[in-house]
Structures are given as C-alpha cells and as structure tokens.
C-alpha cells in the first residue's frame, strides 16, 4: 500500500516539476493599471510591449527591423514585439481591455477607436503630439478625423498608413478587347459587360458577396451617389437614399450574368484568387492587395484604377480608412511609449514600412519619395487623395457597434439580395434602420456623459 502511494507521489511530484520548471515565473510585462507614472532613472532600462494587430511573415520582419533601429537609437528602451493574427486581434484586445492587461503600444484600426476610447482603454497623445516637431507633416485631415471619431475629441491614434479603395483590372485583356479602362459608372458597366466571355470562363467583374462585402458595397454606393453625409440633419441614414437603391439594383444585378456564380460566398481571398488566377477581368478592393497580385500575375497583367467618378465628376472617398498606433492607458511608461510611436510615425520609418507592405504613408515627406511616385497603384491613390475633385464621407465608425452591424447584419443580407430572398429596398431600409437605432443609442449615451 505504502509503495503505491510512494509511486503516485513521485509521479505527481515529477510532473509538477516538469510543468512548473517550464513556466515563465513571475510576469515581467504585466502592467498594473492606475499605477504611478514615474519616470525611470537615467540608467534604468525600460521595457515596453508592442502588439501588432496584423502579424505575419509578410509584415513581422519589417517591424523587427524597425524595432532594432529604435532600440539602437534608444538603448534604454526595450521593445517586446507580440504579433497577433489579424482575424483574432480585436477579440484579444477586447479580453485584454476587460482584464486591464494591455500592452504599452498597439496597432489599432481606426474603426476600433470609438469602441476602445469609450471603454477608457486609450491614453491621449495630444500633449506629446503638440510638442512633436513633425506634427504638421502628418496628414492633418486624418489627424482631425481621428479626433472627430471619439467623444472627447482627443488624439488616441497616430495614423501611419492610409488605405484607399480602387479597381484592379487586367490592362492586357482590356487592350486586347479594345475596351477603355472605366472612368465613369457608365463606362464601368460597359466594360464589365464587354469583358465577360463565358466561353473562355472569363467574367468582367467579381462581387464580394461573402465576409467583408458590406464595406466594399458601401464604398461603391457612395462613390456612385456622391452623397457626403452619412446621416442627414435629422439623424436619418442616407444608406437607403434612392440613388443607392438605384445603384445596388444595377450593381448586384451583375451577379451571375457578368460575375461568377460563386460570388455569393466570395470573401476577400476568394475574390482576389478569382482575379489572380485569370477568371475575372476586374475587382474592387484597395491598394493593400497589391502584394497578392504582384505575386500571381506578371507586370502588365494588373493595374489600378480609381473608383469611377460621380455624374458631376467627383471622386468620393470614405474617411477613417487608416491604421495606426495607440498608447494604452494602463502603460507605466507613456513617455517611452510615445517615443516609440513617434519613431514609427517618422518619415524614414513610415517610408520603410509602407514601401515594404505596399501602402500609402501619412507623412508628407515620405509621400514625396520616389517609391511612391513610381508605383502605379500608389500614384493612382495619391492622385485621388490629392485631387481637388475628391470629396469625403465619414461613416458612423464612432458608433461602437458599427463594425459588428456590418459584419453580422449587413454581410448576410447582401447574400439574401443576391439569392433573391430580399429586395434591394428591404435590404437598404433594414440597413438604414439598424444604423439609425445604433446612432440614437450612441447619442443618448453621449448626452449622459455631458
């Protein structure tokens, strides 16, 4: 009997040793909230944690290089990089906010800003930003829109990348067919029709009917209508404006006739794969998919175009389409965190980063560099952003549930319209009503805060 107990005891003891021996011991990086924000002694090394919200082999090595450069410039600051897979990053932040166990600095999408700031998770950067020598060189419209999106109008995110929706098309096929790349909506529909050749299993266009489709559809709708108010003066959504009804009928009407049958479940990857494997002549996406096209297609087989102009010749661009860095409120080292954020937002860092990931910087000096001017897709994007004929509309990203409405309510409804289960009018009225209800709740909450 005793021998048996001894054996069990030994096994348990060994296993505990094995397990605890592999542990990390006390957490070095746990940040207690509301702690005193003391400046470290000059010779004391400070460790800050940085969460990258879209990590992967295409991006992480560039952050590692930037961190190396930063640490060489600031030998008393250590940056611990933690890469988060894109699809689960928001969920990770949500749990970390609830548990008040946040990093010092993190990559934050602008659409998350309202949600995070209303939950008191972010550290305002205004004081640091106002003293920063490069403050006037960061796109002022983007800085302003970042302030506008939060209730207290403070700066909670330093933008370092601007994105823009464009059309990707096959210049070789267009030339071969003698079709002009579309500049207006009429030309767009004509091109889609002419480039469709079902005998070659080739379609003129591909609609994103699956996950993420609502974002793209919304941008196309406003690019067509030219409406720049997301809500009118009475708080009514413009989503179901008659112009949008007209557009969606024609646009989703392309489905199956000029676009593949599988479009109803098209997510980003499927849509891009259709274009990259030569099944589709044109897609709508943003400059971010450049890397995928350049891997799969040869030079001359892909090029960018602005979204078509409105009837009165205007480009319509959705605001808040930026990414950047936030400092989190639980940080014990706001000064060091700001040093890192301002380093990442500086012209050399923005230039290095955006050139390698194929996106547009927000720093004026980086925008003037040759790599921006020589890349066709970036040139197109810059020309739209700098055009006097460009107007902006700002969607309701300040409503904390804005993103979940699009993901969970609108995306499935696009499929309902494509499959004929819902009319366009029903779909857009429901979309508008959901947004209006959310806006009323948000407005009521803001009133209570005041």
């Amino acid at each position: 009997m005793f021998r048996d107990f001894r054996k069990i005891g030994t096994a348990v003891l060994l296993s505990s040793l094995l397990v605890t021996g592999c542990g990390s011991g006390p957490q070095e990086t746990v940040i207690k909230d509301e702690g005193p924000k003391e400046a470290p002694a000059a010779d004391q090394k400070v460790k800050i944690t940085f969460w990258d919200e879209n990590a992967g082999p295409q991006r992480t090595p560039y952050y590692e290089e930037l961190i190396k450069r930063f640490e060489a410039e600031n030998p008393n600051i250590d940056v611990e990089y933690v890469g988060l897979p894109n699809k689960s990053a928001k969920q990770k932040y949500d749990a970390a906010i609830a548990a008040e166990d946040l990093p010092d600095v993190g990559g934050v999408q602008t659409t998350w800003l309202a949600d995070f700031s209303i939950r008191g998770a972010l550290y305002p950067m205004d004081e640091f930003f106002d003293k920063w020598s490069d403050k006037d060189k960061i796109n002022p419209a983007v800085i302003q829109s970042n302030r506008d999106v939060v209730i207290d109008k403070k700066l909670y995110q330093m933008p370092n990348t601007i994105n823009l929706d464009i059309l990707w098309y096959r210049p070789d096929w267009f030339t071969e067919a003698g079709v002009k790349p579309p500049e207006t909506w009429d030309e767009f529909y004509t091109a889609v029709e002419k480039m469709t050749d079902k005998s070659k299993n080739r379609y003129g266009f591909s609609i994103r009917g699956g996950k993420g489709g609502s974002f793209q559809l919304q941008r196309m709708m406003y690019a067509y209508s030219g409406i720049t108010d997301f809500y009118d003066a009475n708080g009514k959504s413009t989503i179901n404006d008659p112009k949008h009804v007209e557009f969606v009928k024609k646009y989703l009407g392309l489905y199956k006739t000029y676009t593949p049958d599988s479009d109803i479940t098209n997510d980003y990857k499927a849509m891009v794969a259709g274009f990259d494997t030569g099944a589709v002549a044109m897609i709508q996406h943003n400059i971010g998919s450049y890397g995928e096209h350049s891997k799969a297609l040869k030079e001359g087989q892909y090029a960018a175009l602005p979204l078509p102009k409105t009837a009165d010749g205007k480009y319509v661009v959705e605001g808040y389409n930026t990414n950047g860095y936030s400092i989190f409120k639980t940080t014990k080292h706001p000064e060091e965190a700001w040093k890192f954020v301002s380093f990442l937002a500086s012209a050399p860092s923005q230039s290095y980063w955006n050139q390698n990931i194929g996106q547009l910087p927000t720093h004026e000096d980086a925008l003037k560099e040759d790599w921006v001017q020589n890349a066709q897709h970036l040139k197109v994007a810059t020309s739209v952003l700098q055009s006097p004929n460009t107007v902006y509309y700002y969607p309701g990203v300040h409503q904390p549930d804005y993103r979940s409405i699009l993901d969970q309510v609108i995306d499935p409804n696009i499929q309902a319209v494509m499959s004929g289960k819902k009319t366009v009018e029903e779909f857009l009225n429901e979309w508008a009503a959901t947004l209006e209800k959310s806006k009323q709740q948000y407005d009521a909450h803001v009133k209570t805060l005041k």
Binding site: M1, V19, S24, Q58, E80, N86, A95, E292
Partner: protein, 278 residues
C-alpha cells in the same frame, strides 16, 4: 450468378464507393502537401498544377525559422503531453469511482459532468484570464495545461467509466483474494487491461489540445509562448495569405497527429468499441 456479374457487383457496391471515399478524404491532404513543396509563384499559377513542376523546401524554412514554428512546436508538444498525462490519471480515477462505487447523487454527478460540455469556451475567456492574471500565470504553459485538463476531464471520465465497466469485476475480486489492495488492483490489474481505453482517451485529448486556438491565444501574451495553431493563423493576414508557408505549417502540425494515429490505430478501434458497449 456468373463470375462476371459477381465482379461487377463488387466493383459498384464495394470498390467504387471506397475509391471515391478515399479520394474525397485524401485529396485535401494531397493538395496541402503539393502546395507545401511548390515555389510561391507556382501556387496560384493558372492553369493549376496538380503535380508540381518544381520543388522547394523554402516554405518549410519560412514556417520553421521565419514564423517560429520551431518554438511553437515545442510549446504545443509540452502542453499536449502534460495535459494528456494529467487527464489520464484523473479520468482513470474518476472513471473507476463512477464504475465501481455506488454513491448518492451519482446520476446527478454524471449529468453535471455532461453539462460542462455545453458551456461555450468563449464565454469563459475573461473570467479565466482574470483568474490566471491574479495567479501570475498569464503566458505560462501551466495556465493552458490547467484549462485543458479541466475542459477535457468530464468527457474523458465518462469515456473511461465505459471502458472500466467492461472489465469483469471477477478479475478484481481474484486479485483481492490474492492479497491486492484497491490501489494495487487499479494499477496492476485494471490498467493493463484498460490499455485500449487509455490510448483512445489519450489520443482524443492530445488532438483536441494540439488543435486548440482560442485559449492558447487569449491566455498568452508572449510570442515565444504561442502554440502551433496561432503560428498557422499568422499566415493569413488581412490582405496577404502565404499559402506555401501555411501548407508547410499544416504539414508540420499534422506529423505528430498522423504518427500518433498510426501507432494507436489498433488500440483506438478496440477502445472505442469498448466505450460503446459500456
């Protein structure tokens, strides 16, 4: 019935459906392996190459060294083996108690064990995070081992109850007549007979832990502590999917599972049969 007729019947009733099932099941594996050894440019080339025209190990290098699979692999192995170890010990003891003892509320206890399976893991993330944070166990493999053991124990205890119930009581009684006490009976008599059940339970637990993403991601804030499923999800960025490295990573992640099934196959079939009978 002529021989020809018999052969045709066999072909259409047996061989053809079997062949279709095998192709249907194995094609995704073939495609993953095929993609893992293709250079990046060939993966999305049109027309698609069903047999690669060129061969590369670059995708494995990217996954193993670049993305850090070498570390994630070790972390996954450590967590999976420790969890299996604890689950097997506790599930055997709980299963034995359920099978051999009569006690008040036994039915309710079994029901309670089953009910734990209905709680969605996502609901428990924040409470678990807070508990482990207060214990200083965030980013520590111990937090995952405890979580997985807790989640796996109820189902595996019920499974083990089924296996143990199939072992004749007479065996135990004979051992006791020969002078064994209860613990000796469990370890010297029950355990050797229970091997198929232990293997089945161990394999189920291992596969579950090996593939688990949510808790591994949520309870870890340090990259060097991440596990394989997190490494795999790195390959799918917002705008970029590294199909080659994703396929190579999947092949790496598949190897232990395949080896384990290859070893445990025989026991597994016996084991599951036993559980069903119980």
């Amino acid at each position: 019935m002529s021989t020809f007729q018999r052969n045709m019947d066999r072909l259409f009733v047996f061989y053809l459906p079997m062949a279709i099932t095998v192709i249907f099941t194995l094609f995704p594996f073939y495609w993953t392996i095929n993609t893992a050894f293709k250079p990046e440019g060939d993966i999305v080339k049109s027309p698609l190459e069903y047999v690669p025209s060129s061969f590369t190990l670059e995708n494995f290098r990217v996954a193993w060294e670049g993305v850090g699979f070498s570390t994630y692999f070790q972390n996954s192995l450590l967590i999976a083996f420790c969890t299996v170890f604890f689950v097997l010990i506790f599930a055997t003891l709980v299963g034995y108690a359920l099978s051999r003892y009569r006690f008040k509320g036994k039915g309710a206890f079994m029901l309670l064990l089953l009910c734990t399976q209905f709680v969605p893991g996502a609901m428990l993330i924040i409470p678990l995070f807070l508990i482990f944070k207060s214990l200083g166990l965030i980013s520590n493999p111990l937090s995952l081992i405890i979580t997985y053991t807790t989640f796996q124990l109820p189902f595996n205890s019920i499974l083990m109850n089924g296996f143990i119930s199939n072992v004749p009581r007479e065996l135990e009684e004979a051992a006791m007549v020969d002078g064994c006490n209860r613990l000796q009976v469990i370890f010297k008599v029950i355990l050797p007979v229970l091997m198929p059940g232990i293997v089945a339970t161990g394999v189920f637990t291992f596969i579950h832990v090996w593939n688990e993403f949510l808790f591994a991601f949520m309870l870890t804030n340090q990259e060097e502590r991440f596990t394989l499923p997190i490494g795999l999800s790195y390959m799918m960025g917002e705008f970029n999917v590294n199909y080659g490295a994703l396929a190579a990573g999947s092949v790496i992640a598949l190897i232990p599972a395949i080896l384990m099934f290859a070893y445990a196959q025989k026991h597994l079939v016996n084991g599951l049969g036993g559980a069903v009978k119980g």
